[in-house]
Symmetry: C2
Subunit: 361 residues, 2 copies
């Protein structure tokens, strides 16, 4: 048996987890599969009615000619950048210093594709428009992540995205959207996915983040682009004989939760305001623009952890299951709102934060 | 709706399909998941009790220090060869001209890893021992596929494998086993998986071929090798947040079917003999050494297809759903025995082949 930290143990005991859609257990997949007939045939190496149907739905959703289902975003995005690099005859792309490709993929882009990355801007803020306007066709592709997760899930104004898109088009730079959390940004921008994606040449979206599926991703673009992506998918070992456990659950939870992204966003604003009402606590951003934000608490971990453990035990509300020490004496963590939040009685939640405010004084 | 060929339609109507474990539909996964508690937690990026437990079981089965679960064999094998190439400081490996890596992977090994392949022997036969004994440390790794699927599933004598292993060890060449169908060869060799795998430095096994799982593979070797394989798995985009749909079904069907490989092998011998009793028909090999073999029928496709359609309709036995035209006037196809075969009444099967013999005259 793996031993868990007191904070994880207390979180698991709590009746009301605050973030996410509930426990990541196999019931998530069982529930989704239950909706489909036992006799539904498996996809076979990316072909078959059910996978092609889902890909067509997702292509329509993001307003692109074609969409291809991938087992992971890591695979989908490296491939997107490789295709644009090959098309431009340049092995260089630009993205934020905290892009998933830079910090979570063991340098796959460099090691497998020999693509160099130009890191734009600073680690603690969004890329600035002037930094993008200074780019020329020395790079094949610019990747923009919406929202920029590692700094709390922040977004540039929509007009800035339009200016970025116009600059890239005028300068022969392909523009790729890391839309792992695409659905989550639409309520703030008040745009459809297709309107937003029209600014980009290629788009990746994920199904296990906001949507809460089991795993999997879509890569979308024009027909030539997606045809090439299937060849690379096979090369990467991602063209599995059966991907249905992923796209069936993606389809099921997409239908259920995509329409609730506006609600999750409003709830994130509400929750962030409760955090910010406590001394020593600040959210980033102060007012969320999606269903996610980061929380920074200026209390050392060894002091904060027992406070949270006691708080969960007393109230039954589980705020978070881990603490990162982001700097000397400061803890931080990420919150993503999903279905779980609406289950918490409002009065109990208010009381929980009043108690936390007292305990942190 | 996709339209299907008359042969596929007739095969689907037949009550008794001869090969495989039954239809590849989502019930395959539902049945496996049913055996596990709803609350079983998902693996998270390759960690967690359930994935680690399965990996440990498989490491013990093949007699290696460690085993890592991969979404696909394509990914697992490219990575194995890359690790050995890096260790030897050479970008060259050797394998059969009809290796999966050479004909089914869109040149991933070359395009992603810049590894050159030396093709040993000829397309229509096994690699000969003398061809291997001529190899020196110009190559980093030799890959041996057991059985050699594309030529009907044939095997070298066990003593030859021992000689290959000894030569590689003496000459600084790493030996990798493409054991996609490892279980299927054990009854013929009368060896345990661990005994056979002891001849190799690294081993890949698959769970959707003989085992009939949904997808997925194991790569096994010593601890240093498997640790590196996890880094490459992340680079390839194969380190999914949740792989449980694959390894849980792999585990379930492995327990069920691995002990039946001897039965499938005997049944393949029986079925091949029925085929060979018909004029114009020959199996390759003549006497199978695993649960699989190829069938060659010297009748043109346009004549053979309506004969099979009529045969299935008359007898209810579905022999095969496709015909490949392997040469002028010759059709061929692959047969793999699984659970379906034992369902066919022996008398009916005999009668089916008698009818086919008549129809082919």
């Amino acid at each position: 048996m793996t031993t868990v930290s007191p904070l994880v143990a207390a979180f698991r005991q709590a009746s009301y987890p605050v973030g996410g859609h509930g426990r990541k257990n196999i019931q998530v997949l069982k529930e989704a599969l239950h909706e489909f007939d036992d006799k539904l045939e498996s996809d076979i190496y990316g072909t078959g009615e059910s996978i092609e149907g889902f890909q067509a739905e997702m292509a329509a959703y993001v307003g692109k000619e074609k969409a291809v289902f991938f087992p992971s975003g890591t695979m989908a995005q490296q491939i997107a950048l490789r295709i644009w690099c090959d098309e431009k005859g340049k092995r260089k792309v630009a993205y934020h210093p905290l892009s998933h490709l830079e910090i979570h993929e063991e340098d796959g882009l460099k090691e497998l594709h020999q693509i160099e990355s130009l890191l734009l801007g600073e680690r603690d803020r969004l890329i600035r428009l002037e930094e993008i306007l200074a780019l020329n066709d020395e790079i094949a592709c610019l990747l923009i992540e919406l929202p920029q997760r590692e700094i709390g899930g922040v977004l540039p104004p929509y007009e800035e995205l339009e200016a970025i898109s116009a600059h890239c088009r005028a300068n022969g730079i392909k523009l790729h959207l890391d839309g792992a959390r695409l659905y989550e940004v639409l309520p703030y921008y008040q745009k459809s996915a297709a309107e937003l994606c029209a600014l980009f040449d290629s788009v990746y979206i994920s199904f296990y983040k906001g949507i809460g599926g089991v795993a999997g991703a879509i890569l979308a673009g024009d027909e030539g682009f997606t045809a090439k992506s299937k060849v690379w998918k096979r090369r990467h070992g991602g063209d599995l004989i059966s991907l249905y456990p992923y796209y069936l659950s993606a389809s099921y939870y997409f239908k259920q939760r995509e329409p609730k992204m506006g609600q999750y966003y409003k709830e994130a604003v509400e929750l962030a305001s409760l955090y910010n009402s406590c001394e020593h606590v600040a959210t980033l951003p102060l007012v969320p623009v999606t269903n996610m934000f980061h929380v920074h608490i200026s209390v050392p971990k060894e002091k904060l952890e027992p406070i949270l453990v006691a708080l969960y035990a007393e109230t039954g509300v589980g705020l978070i299951h881990y603490l990162r020490e982001s700097s000397e004496g400061v803890c931080s963590f990420e919150v993503s709102i999903g279905d779980a939040f609406a289950q918490i009685p409002k009065e109990l939640l208010k009381r929980t934060f009043e108690r936390m405010a007292n305990m942190l004084q």
